[in-house]
Subunit: 180 residues, 2 copies
Amino acid sequence: MTSRVYASKKVIADTFFKKLEKDNFNAITISEIVGEANLSRSTFYRYFKNKYSIVQFFIEDLLDAYLLAVDEREIEDFTSLLVIYFEFWKKNKYYLELFKRHNLLDFALDIERKKFLKVLPYSDLPWHHNSSENELFADLTVIGGVWNISLYWLENDFQLEPADLAEEIVKSLSSYKIFI
Amino acid sequence: MTSRVYASKKVIADTFFKKLEKDNFNAITISEIVGEANLSRSTFYRYFKNKYSIVQFFIEDLLDAYLLAVDEREIEDFTSLLVIYFEFWKKNKYYLELFKRHNLLDFALDIERKKFLKVLPYSDLPWHHNSSENELFADLTVIGGVWNISLYWLENDFQLEPADLAEEIVKSLSSYKIFI
């Protein structure tokens, strides 16, 4: 994706997400989006199939920012990774709530699952580095586990700081690993 | 809940889920449901607030059947529990697909999370028996993890048998627990 293509897609996505603040997902039309973004319908359809493909682009773009944040930090252990994950969703809490309000959370989990399953085995983190076949179900468990914890955290209005949350999770998992 | 109340709620839920086979969630009216179930509107509103509360009842009823299956079997270890969980969703694959089609999967995860968090600490299973505060995040990880694996399994058309799937999961988690 060239930077010009990316910029056009981002304008469309930002316009759409701005409208989602007030309007119903189904009520927003492509004509309204392209009108407000000052683009033609043909430009829209060059990049997107429908409103769901805008959401997909937007979420993948969010997750790319998360993966970049992981790359840029020294990750010593699983706890540090969890801290970054929850800092990320805390910062993007607004979007989590928006996905919930528009019934897009399951769609978001689908995108996160597919994207992470693709990139995790090639990650530099010590538990991925051997990139064995064997990691599929551990990855799926962690992806679904942290997702579920984020939703629980959202429901409980983000009471815990990311660092405390990460520490609690690892403490809890540690005491249960004897059963695995 | 008396058995008469349960029976009425079940008739309403079954009628609604029968309609969901063909009709759109939003298009189905309460009048149609009570008409087909041969009940009055006032009976409906004694038991349910809206269509989402029917779905909630239906999913909680499904999960009760799962918890009963767990109670009735000798669970030796985490693997045996996973086998029952995935046997259960394999048997109820039709409903998972129906939830997906009607964009109800996130609602289903919310219900599963709340219900399991309530009952798990009082379960007789060896890893719950101490019912410590400490289990919250391990429970959330497992609830979200197996949910995510079920969705992955659904996407891949249930290729693996529940027993093989459970074994693969435990093998994968075992090799990753040194990082926790």
